[in-house]
């Protein structure tokens, strides 16, 4: 959008006064001194420049005042830009176990809970790259859309800061994934899309939901990262359970298998400590760097102040011109003063004596 097409005024009625700006071409605030012939005045470039500047300043002074009264503004707009980054959909587990430490206890003293650790690290991750678009969703029993895809990183950080509030009980991964996928929305197909799942456990994905999820993943094709905050002692992703190898017995392992079967780039990070979490995040940060088009929103810009400022500047110039004004007639008074003493009879004897 060009600058001119964005330009607008709030009270266009005032603009009918704009022809007044041509007034200085005919009239002047300076005192006009009549002279017998202008030809007696030597041509002077500087004078012509000053004249042009002052005329322009008078036109601008009235013009900008009228414009300022009309309330000029630049309409807001959205600018599509290209930067380096990714569309990141954060999916964060808000189940009750997130409130525990990596050791599986309630945090006490200097220990931090899994939620607090992930909050700290994710906060850093979000701030690092300016053009990332981040959406935040959380899930426990049901998914919660916390923040849609946005480039307002302050909002994202605020959303992330909220994830260490005490969580709820259950873990329903399937619906959470569905919501996180829907956060990507249409548009920007060439952008790199990252789904970052942060959880400390898994749940069974219903067989009936699985095809729907597969379909969604195939459509959106995000890179899937699973930051698995593993509690010490709990089974890892690769560990086969001792008994029957069913999703119910080892939900983490089967979720991992499910993700692997999705056909999208997938990587799981098993993190057993805050340091491991940080490393995983840094890894993601390193991997996901691709050009991304993002929309920058510019707010409406009020130009009245600028117009008043320009008018004030022009009026200042005119004032300076007025103050610098001098007069031939002013010398008339002085001449009279200088003539009078010689006509004064009292001064005659002195002259004769001299």
């Amino acid at each position: 959008m060009s600058l001119l097409s964005r330009f607008g005024v709030t009270a266009p009625g005032w603009l009918w006064l704009l022809p007044l700006a041509l007034l200085p071409l005919a009239a002047t605030a300076q005192r006009r001194v009549p002279v017998p012939a202008l030809a007696m005045v030597p041509a002077d470039g500087l004078s012509r420049l000053v004249d042009a500047v002052l005329t322009l300043a008078s036109v601008a002074g009235i013009g900008f005042l009228v414009l300022a009264l009309a309330g000029p503004r630049l309409a807001g707009e959205s600018v599509v830009r290209t930067g380096e980054g990714a569309q990141v959909s954060l999916l964060i587990d808000r189940s009750g176990s997130m409130n525990e430490t990596f050791a599986g206890r309630q945090p006490s003293g200097a220990e931090e809970s899994k939620a607090a650790a992930s909050r700290r690290i994710l906060e850093g991750f979000v701030g690092r790259r300016a053009h990332d678009l981040v959406a935040v969703s959380a899930f426990s029993t049901s998914p919660m859309a916390v923040l849609p895809m946005t480039d307002r990183h302050d909002a994202v950080r605020a959303a992330i800061r909220a994830i260490d509030r005490p969580g709820l009980e259950a873990t329903n991964v399937a619906r959470g994934l569905g919501l996180a996928l829907s956060q990507f929305g249409p548009g920007a197909p060439q952008a790199s899309r990252v789904l970052l799942l942060v959880s400390d456990g898994a749940a069974v994905i219903d067989r009936r939901v699985q095809p729907l999820l597969r379909e969604e993943f195939a459509k959106i094709h995000p890179t899937l990262y699973w930051l698995f905050l593993r509690t010490a002692g709990s089974p890892g992703l690769a560990d086969r359970p001792a008994g029957e190898d069913t999703p119910q017995a080892a939900p983490e392992r089967h979720l991992d298998l499910f993700f692997k079967s999705l056909g999208v780039p997938y990587r799981a990070f098993e993190a057993e400590s805050p340091e491991a979490v940080e490393q995983a995040v840094r890894e993601i940060d390193r991997l996901e760097r691709k050009p991304i088009t993002y929309v920058e929103r510019r707010p409406q810009h009020d130009l009245a102040g600028l117009a008043y400022g320009l008018a004030a500047f022009a009026l200042g110039l005119l004032l300076a011109g007025k103050l610098a004004e001098t007069d031939l007639a002013g010398w008339k008074a002085e001449a009279r003063r200088s003539v009078r003493p010689s006509e004064d009879p009292a001064s005659q004897p002195t002259r004769r004596a001299a």
């Binding site: 001194v33 009549p34 002279v35 007696m40 002077d44 004078s47 610098a324 004004e325 001098t326 031939l328």
Partner: protein
Amino acid sequence: MSTDILYRLRGPAAGPAPGAHRARDTGGLGVFRDQVPFWRHPDARRIDLRATLRDPFEGTVVRRFEQRRALEVWALVDASASMRFRGRGETWALVTELCTALARSATRIGDAFGVMACGARAETVVPASRRRGTAEAVADALAAIEPRGASAAGLAEAGASLAGRRKLVVAISDFRLPGPVLAALFERLQGHDVVPVAVEDGAFDEGLPAFGLIELEDLEGGGRRRVLMRPSLRARWLSREADRREALRRLALRYGRPPYRLADRFDGDDFSRHLLGTAA
């Protein structure tokens, strides 16, 4: 009542009537001029007995005396709008004062005085007259004139109406005229004794401000111009004016008298000095 203005014609006068100025004519009274044989001037009352007796050829010698003649004095007044200027002095008032004083002085010694106002055309506003009331008529006539128009071409035209005997012609103008008009003015008045009176003003002389912004407006409709005065421009301005004055002086001298500078106020004695001093 100002002092009388004294003036003298360059060269002999040739007026219609006896008057105050030296002339070529001879007459019975006045200053002795020369002696001629009786047959050239058969006036028995003026026979110079001594010279007649002294003459070895026994001719009769007659004394001749200068016959003084009256003059016609004309004022050609530039009536273009530029004469409306008011600076330290009021141009038109100065002109009126000068013309009135000249009219009074002229009629007092028996000369006729007339005024022509020259705008785009020359117009006789007061015909040459020796009447006593001429000065008042001149003052009234000039007061009634509102100088206007951009042209003072009438100044050059005026020469045509002033044909005839040699006259004293006082051309009053600011002489900011186009070259051809100026040349034609002097050219056409060649037969007369022309006294150019250049009306100027101290405001454009030493009165020019050294600093400041002035918006100047041409009285003759030549537009307006803003000028940023500063010492260098002032110096250029003054040197230009000096050049113009010098050029006018050279031109005027070629035809007789140098111009008289009438500025700020009218000084009759000064004008008399100029008239007498340049009459040689």
